[in-house]
């Protein structure tokens, strides 16, 4: 399917597969991002994937819109159709204790479930990192069981601690930095998602497969102490 190509202001373009189903669109985005990024021409600054679209940033001193559009159209013809399998499988430890899970009871109540059942459902699903966004290294994860889909909080929290595992609509994610946030917090991981001391500061990459492994307070404390 041909994606739509739209200007994003005068120095970027959005290439979107909005009419495709989530999984197919996501595959198209991944393949195109990889190909575009490897074959950047002069004036094309960067490529960034989102759920069903990618953004091409270009230098509008060097390229006009028609030149940028032509580069995108030409590149699209060569994007290989590859069936990608998740690159890595990672286990993320999560402590669902009440002092971290500020909204666990609210989420449980919204679905008429016991909090333990929310934890069981959340920790037994398989997730895939669909994109990184919002803050450095924040993963948007697909795969949240439909029983846990919960509309965002009416008013966002001013400060959500880094490591908070949260539910927003049909997605789950992990706050990589302390920041404001409107998702429901149901636990916390002691793992640092964004750490500049590492060679690659973001722990997760788009395409990674994730499982949440419940840990207790003691394990959380031990992990934090070790790192």
């Amino acid at each position: 399917m041909t994606p739509s190509i739209e200007p994003l202001g005068d120095s970027a373009a959005i290439v979107a597969w909005r009419l495709l189903d989530d999984a197919t669109a996501w595959q198209a985005v991944q393949s195109a991002t990889e190909y575009f990024d490897r074959n950047r021409s002069d004036g094309v600054l960067a490529i960034a994937p989102a759920f069903k679209s990618l953004t091409v940033y270009y230098d509008c001193e060097k390229l006009t819109w028609s030149e940028a559009e032509k580069w995108i159209l030409d590149s699209l013809r060569f994007v290989p159709i590859t069936q990608q399998t998740p690159r890595r499988q990672l286990d993320i430890p999560v402590c669902y204790a009440p002092e971290f899970a500020l909204d666990l009871t609210a989420v449980a109540a919204a679905h008429d479930l016991h909090p333990d059942e929310v934890i069981r459902l959340h920790a037994n699903a398989n997730y895939v990192v669909q994109m990184l966004g919002f803050s450095p290294g924040f993963p948007y994860l697909a795969g949240l069981p439909s029983q846990l889909h919960t509309p965002r909080r009416a008013s966002p929290r001013i400060q959500v601690p880094a490591g908070s595992v949260a539910i927003g609509g049909g997605q789950t994610g992990i706050y990589s930095c302390t920041s404001p946030g409107g998702w429901h917090i149901i636990g916390r991981t002691p793992v640092q998602l964004f750490n500049l001391q590492r060679d690659s500061p973001c722990l997760l990459q788009t395409g990674d497969a994730i499982r949440f492994v419940p840990i207790d307070r003691q394990q959380f404390a031990d992990y934090t102490e070790r790192t």
Partner: protein, 341 residues
């Protein structure tokens, strides 16, 4: 190695360069000087590349002490900078030209008389560690710049080694002012933009993906009314008030890319103008984008002031940007020639 001391920090002073263009796929904001034109001119006037780090000051400026004789340039908002020497002699400083500041001087930046963001470039650049290919301060993620935060009183910043042109300019100016010991001004200046009028400024925009979602009255209001820049405005974005825009079409959107200049419309109907520190993706309708040529003007707007939007075509927007770059290149070349004489 040369250093400077921060005596007083000002409202929001940060180390900035041209940002992190290549890390948006990781959720990292572009960042960098909001008025990149002023930042670039300040750098070039002291012989630095446009990528060197400067200090960006917001609304109320800093007071800075210079340990050694130093070549600087001040651009952007007019913060009525003055130099104070050890005998407490006060000298007003010119903007938009290179200045040699004698050792032991302090420069005081006041509250901006016009504009919002003032840039201080120093020959050699502010030498903070490079993080993800940039020295910019990422305030929300607390990394980059000086300790990932705004400057505070007591901070000490290292200065890099000046480039050959910077060193020559400094030698020449230093020799000329040797007998007075006071910085001499040039009879020319390089100013990339005129600062916006403090009461009413106009920003040119192009359409966004969801401009057609606006109701007829919403579109008319976008193009004909004055918006006020709210006090809740920072390097991430400006909240615009006084006019609520309504959509005719509604749909839940998936997060897609946004850029500095994007006008987002959240459900409350008050547009948000995204600036350089915004997240690289957003899920609100994009009802327009301030053109690249006007982002410097946007950076100089003050909370509380009014703005209007004027629609141009994408082709026009890109022509304006190229014209602006050409004029800047020409002016900087003239400045180089003047400095050689």
């Amino acid at each position: 190695m040369n250093r400077i001391h921060i005596i007083r920090s000002g409202l929001c002073s940060t180390v900035q360069d041209l940002g992190r263009a290549k890390f948006r796929h990781l959720g990292v904001p572009l960042g960098g000087a909001l008025d990149s034109g002023a930042h670039e001119v300040a750098n070039r006037l002291v012989g630095n590349s446009a990528h060197a780090a400067t200090i960006e000051m917001t609304l109320t400026g800093a007071e800075i002490e210079f340990i050694a004789e130093t070549l600087i340039a001040i651009t952007g908002a007019d913060m009525a900078a003055t130099r104070h020497d050890r005998d407490n002699l006060t000298q007003p400083l010119a903007q938009h030209c290179p200045l040699v500041i004698p050792a032991g001087s302090r420069i005081r930046f006041q509250t901006a008389r016009r504009g919002c963001r003032c840039y201080l470039a120093i020959a050699g650049g502010i030498d903070v560690p490079v993080v993800m290919e940039s020295r910019s301060t990422a305030l929300r993620a607390t990394f980059g710049g000086h300790c990932g935060r705004m400057l505070v009183a007591g901070d000490e910043l290292a200065i890099g080694t000046p480039a050959e042109t910077g060193r020559q300019t400094m030698e020449r100016l230093s020799a000329k002012q040797a007998n007075t010991g006071m910085p001499i001004f040039q009879n020319w200046f390089v100013r990339p933009i005129d600062l916006p009028h403090p009461d009413m400024a106009t920003l040119r925009i192009v359409t966004g993906t969801h401009t057609s979602w606006l109701s007829r009255s919403g579109l008319a209001r976008l193009l004909e009314s004055a918006f006020r820049i709210s006090a809740h405005s920072d390097r991430m974005g400006y909240r615009l008030t006084d006019q609520q825009l309504e959509l005719e079409h509604h749909a839940e959107l998936l997060s897609e890319g946004v850029i500095p200049g994007t006008l987002q419309l959240p459900p409350d109907g008050n547009p948000i103008l995204l600036m350089a520190d915004s997240a690289p993706t957003g899920g609100y309708p994009r009802i327009g984008h301030v053109i690249a040529a006007d982002l410097s003007i946007a950076a100089q707007l003050r909370p509380g002031q009014f703005i209007r939007f004027a629609m141009v075509t994408l082709d026009q927007a890109q022509v304006f940007f190229r014209q602006q770059r050409r004029m800047l290149t020409k002016a900087l070349r003239m400045a180089e020639l003047m400095l050689e004489h």
